[in-house]
């Protein structure tokens, strides 16, 4: 595993010291390689498509364009990347917004080095962390939506079940035990939930753009 191609990582963080520290931590790990450091969302939107990383560490609070908006725009690019949000505040709304925009996980600063590296590997492997609070929000969002013919608009019963467990505070492992499936299956479900959340979110953005209302 360590012999494999290192995971390319880009950092979008306005504080140069934090950015440097983060880059330092990443570079120290054999499995990761920092390919870009950006001080603003605008710079990231220019640099990242030119040199696409596999994982982006994105600060939510950025001067100018917000991290959430940056995520949304990056996810519209035809590049394969996973976004991990970095935030000082465990502000459920903005985290959820970021996840909706296309991020697949978040870390609360300050992070321990090991925690950061684990998260990068986790996200790269397709894992998506989801807390009960986020799960609750996802459930609420999909409940509010009206029934639609499109599959992406609705959650499958199994996904719904996973979300319910998450909302009740169960860990992935526990959910796997409860549902008689594997840890990987649970993660896949969560990945798919995230995907649907992105699609929904995009549809919403388009709808907003045309002044319509989907909710």
């Amino acid at each position: 595993m360590k012999k494999e191609m290192p995971i390319t990582v880009a950092i979008v963080e306005d504080d140069p010291e934090v950015r440097g520290t983060l880059a330092n931590i990443i570079e120290r790990d054999d499995g990761c390689h920092c390919v870009g450091e950006y001080g603003s969302a605008e710079a990231a939107l220019v640099g990242i498509p030119q040199q696409p990383p596999r994982v982006v560490l994105m600060d939510i609070d950025l001067p100018g364009m917000s991290g959430v908006e940056c995520v949304r725009r990056l996810c519209e690019q035809p590049v394969q990347l996973q976004v991990l949000m970095l935030t000082v505040y465990k502000d459920a709304d903005s985290i959820f917004d970021a996840l909706s925009a296309g991020a697949v996980g978040y870390l609360v600063k300050p992070v321990r080095a090991a925690q950061l590296i684990d998260a990068i590997h986790d996200v790269y492997g397709g894992g998506a962390p989801m807390t009960s609070g986020i799960a609750r929000k996802v459930v609420q969002l999909f409940q509010k939506s009206r029934p639609s013919a499109q599959e992406v608009d609705t959650l499958s019963p199994r996904e719904q079940e996973v979300l319910d467990f998450l909302a009740q505070g169960y860990l992935y492992k526990e959910i796997a035990d409860r549902t008689g499936s594997s840890y990987a299956t649970v993660r896949t479900h969560i990945e798919r939930i995230y995907h649907k959340l992105h699609v929904r979110s995009r549809a919403q953005a388009v709808a907003r753009y045309f002044g319509q209302k989907t909710l």
Binding site: K90, D91, D93, V108, T131, S132, R136
Partner: protein, 853 residues
């Protein structure tokens, strides 16, 4: 005197001629269904004390004012009792008598199914179908105040109006008998000139053409005069003046001057006290001289330079008590020949009316009355007055003037006869009156034609017994002034109905208050008069609207449109044709209510309300401002406390943490050479920093108003529990409302609740020895309950109430809950474990929202 006796004899002969028709004494008018009578059969009739004539048909009681029948609320009517009558006409049997009536003078009226019979002065007269009046069965009789006889028949209501005059006719079968001249020597010896019929002689009703020499039979005799020597002077229209001596010798009076029309058309004749005959012609004044020839009269008057013969038509000649002869010309004015050979001429500038002078009359008091085509002039000495229709004359063309034995003036006009008391003129002159009271006689009095003649010389005459003879366009009208009643009493006048906006108002006298919004008022009034109801006049005034009395009119209603709100007084007065004006009716108060926005109270209320509103608004404004200030103050107070809390938290959490970090850094420096201690110190620094960030996170989360929602609180608590318990390897089970309502929770409350939960979880991890913690949140209304249950060993007995455990955890917990007025319950769960229940009411007031902002 012998004339009087003879006239009486004549009249007696007429009445004594067996049974006569009532038509000779009465004029008849019938009112039937076509006149508004609801049913033709009239079963009872009576004049009420109010002056109305009350009639009953089988089904209705009717009130009649001479013009209109008004249905009155019906009652059970009783048939008038039948009287027993004897001495009936042969065709009347007692069985057939349906009604009777006795007049004050003893005249008896008998009604039968076949006709009406009257017994008076020992003779019967009747009214039967052969008189052309049908039906004339009498169901009932009544006498009104005007002495009319009313008869109810099966075919309506009959009014029998007494003829006040007798019309003498020639007896010739001619359609019209325009009397142009008249001289009566005795009741059986008349000489009458009828237009186009020559001279007629004989008794009334049996006149025969009188042969006057070679005078054409179709001539018109315009003047007749019986001279003192018995000579009959016959003036004609175009055929000159003829003379018939008592011996029967008839001759045409010779004209001294031949040629022209002068002396051909004779219009007036006068024999003065000296026996001189004055002849008025169409072309000037003439005299018959001693030689028996007709000669023009020349005279010099006024500005004339020499004696002239004015060639103007003479209408009338008069010798007054002083012997002066007055000559009335068509245009030349009035010329007076004084006995002392002085001639005077009077024209318009001398006070003569501007019309032609038609007739002259000197009354018993020596007042000269001048009838003109422009009214009646009264000359007394040098006083000159004129009266016209404006003063109540029937007409302005005065054709005949006579004075009866009672001293009343009789005036013949184109519109009938008038009798006026001379005092009436004086009243008018004195300004006490404008309209004279007069008795008028016209068709209703029995005249065949109302128009009197006189233009061409026909003169009215008074017989020795006081009867008055008036030549008319159809016969000679004979009036006995003694039998003509004086001016009637003024009629009574009534307001009958009031309509508003074309609807009948329920009004029974007294004041009338109109319903709101009704501004169109029509008032109907009447005066019950029956002799000449169509000639009754009315004047009215609506005080508050009319400044003066209206003009006299025969209208019996008046309409007022768009009356303004207010109080009005309506009065009306009436005048019968012959009477003076009645007293005005008592004022009828009419109240037109204002629209509610016109009323004083509304204006007051509106003003007061507006004022009050302004005051309330102003006060409200200031109160609100005060409230706002108070709120702001309170708010400031809350903020103050919140700021103090945040400051305290930051000081406690961050300050203490940083101090610790600083001290640990110092220690790390000192222990640079000892790697184990150094790592411990650095580890400590990281932990403290991490904890500080956590604290800061919590503080910031709590302060940020975006998180002032229940949802945010629950999310935060859930995430915290999951993370915290996960880190402690405790299973976390959450049970939260799936979709919490959007309730606002102040930052203070959030902060305290979060810390309380944190405290509880901290204690659980630390002391309970549990493997699973169950956090459930329920919301009942605004009551938020957080229950934390574990599967550990439960609270030690002393931990729940003991001083040791309490000091550390519970006291803090209680203090926090006290801050938010929450309650705390801690208990051991049967079957193991413990449970902590935090409950708090989420305040509704805005301050909860605002104090975070």
């Amino acid at each position: 005197m012998s004339l009087v006796i003879r006239l009486f004899a004549l009249l007696f002969a007429v009445t004594a001629a067996a049974e006569t028709s009532l038509l000779s004494n009465f004029t008849i008018r019938r009112w039937g269904v076509e006149d508004g009578l609801p049913e033709s059969r009239v079963v009872a009739v009576e004049q009420g004390g109010d002056g109305y004539l009350w009639c009953a048909t089988p089904n209705y009681l009717l009130r009649f004012d001479g013009v209109q029948f008004t249905k009155m609320p019906a009652r059970q009517l009783t048939q008038p009792p039948r009287a027993a009558v004897t001495n009936l006409p042969t065709e009347v049997t007692a069985d057939s008598v349906t009604a009777t009536m006795t007049e004050a003078d003893g005249t008896l009226w008998v009604g039968t199914m076949h006709g009406v019979y009257r017994w008076q002065a020992g003779a019967w007269s009747d009214l039967t179908p052969r008189d052309g009046v049908f039906p004339c069965d009498a169901r009932c009789f009544a006498l009104d105040r005007e002495n009319n006889v009313w008869i109810g028949t099966s075919g309506g209501l009959l009014r029998l109006r007494r003829k006040r005059v007798t019309t003498l006719r020639s007896g010739l079968s001619v359609s019209s008998e325009s009397v142009t001249a008249l001289v009566a020597d005795s009741p059986s010896s008349f000489h009458v000139g009828l237009a186009g019929l020559g001279l007629l002689a004989g008794a009334p009703g049996a006149l025969r053409p009188a042969q006057v020499g070679t005078l054409r039979a179709d001539t018109t005799v315009s003047s007749l005069l019986r001279g003192g020597d018995g000579t009959l002077w016959i003036g004609t229209q175009g055929d000159g003046l003829w003379r018939r001596r008592p011996d029967g010798d008839v001759s045409l009076v010779r004209l001294k001057e031949r040629g022209g029309m002068m002396g051909r058309g004779i219009s007036a004749l006068l024999e003065d006290r000296n026996g001189r005959l004055w002849v008025g012609t169409w072309r000037g004044l003439m005299q018959v001289n001693d030689a028996g020839a007709l000669v023009p009269v020349s005279y010099r008057v006024g500005e004339m330079k020499s004696a002239e013969k004015p060639l103007d038509m003479v209408h009338s000649l008069l010798e007054d008590r002083t012997g002066a002869v007055w000559v009335a010309y068509q245009d030349f004015g009035l010329v007076c020949f004084r006995p002392e050979n002085r001639v005077e001429r009077f024209q318009q500038k001398d006070g003569l009316p501007d019309g032609a002078i038609l007739v002259l009359h000197e009354d018993s008091a020596g007042v000269l009355w001048i009838g003109t085509t422009r009214g009646l002039a009264r000359w007394r000495g040098t006083e000159r007055h004129r009266f016209t229709t404006a003063n109540g004359l029937a007409d302005d063309v005065i054709l005949q003037i006579l004075e009866d034995d009672a001293g009343d003036l009789w005036i013949g006009t184109r519109r009938g006869l008038m009798r006026v008391r001379k005092s009436e003129f004086e009243e008018i002159i004195a300004g006490r009156k404008t309209v004279m009271a007069a008795r008028q006689l016209g068709l209703e009095a029995g005249m065949a034609d109302e128009e009197c003649t006189g233009r061409l010389g026909a003169r009215a005459a008074k017989t020795v017994c006081g009867r008055l003879w008036f030549p008319t366009m159809d016969g000679i009208v004979v009036v006995d002034p003694k039998k003509i009643p004086g001016p009637p009493d003024p009629p009574r006048v009534y307001v009958e109905e009031i309509h508003a906006n074309d609807g009948l108002m329920p009004w029974r006298g007294g004041d009338l208050r109109l319903p709101m919004g009704m501004r169109e008022v029509e008032i109907f009034f009447t005066a019950p008069v029956f002799t000449a109801p169509e000639r009754a006049h009315f004047k009215f005034q609506l005080e508050g609207h009319d400044t003066d009395w209206s003009r006299a009119s025969t209208d019996r209603s008046v309409r007022y449109s768009r009356l303004a709100a207010g109080t009005y007084r309506f009065r009306v007065m009436a005048r019968d044709r012959d009477s003076a004006w009645s007293e005005p009716t008592p004022p009828l108060t009419l109240i037109v209510p204002p629209f509610f926005w016109e009323t004083a109270w509304f204006i007051w209320v509106a003003t007061i309300t507006t004022l009050a509103l302004v005051i309330v608004i102003v006060r409200l404004y200031y109160r609100r401002r005060g409230m706002r200030e108070l709120l702001a103050l309170e708010h400031a107070n809350v903020l103050e406390r919140e700021r103090a809390r945040i400051a305290r938290d930051i000081h406690d959490e961050v300050g203490a943490g940083l101090t610790e970090v600083a001290m640990l850094s110092e220690l790390a420096h000192q222990d640079e050479a000892h790697p184990v201690q150094l790592r411990e110190h650095l580890d400590g620094i990281f932990r403290r920093a991490h904890a500080m960030i956590q604290s800061l996170n919590e503080i910031v989360w709590a302060i940020n108003p975006v998180n002032d929602t229940l949802e945010s609180l629950l999310s935060y608590i859930a995430d915290f529990a999951q993370e915290f318990l996960g880190a402690a390897n405790l299973a976390c089970r959450l049970e939260l409302p799936p979709d919490p309502p959007p309730l606002a929770i102040s930052s203070g409350m959030r902060h305290h609740l979060c810390l309380a939960v944190k405290e509880v979880l901290h204690n659980t991890v630390k002391h309970a020895g549990a493997t699973e913690v169950h956090l459930s949140v329920t919301l009942a209304g605004r009551e938020l309950t957080l229950a934390i249950r574990d599967n550990g060993r439960g609270f030690p007995a002393e931990a729940v109430s003991g001083p040791e455990a309490g000091r550390d955890g519970l006291t803090n917990l209680r203090a926090r809950l006290l801050e938010v007025r929450g309650r705390l319950l801690q208990e051991n769960v049967p079957g193991g474990g413990s449970r902590t229940v935090l409950s708090v009411a989420i305040p509704t007031d805005a301050t909860g929202m605002e104090d975070a902002r």
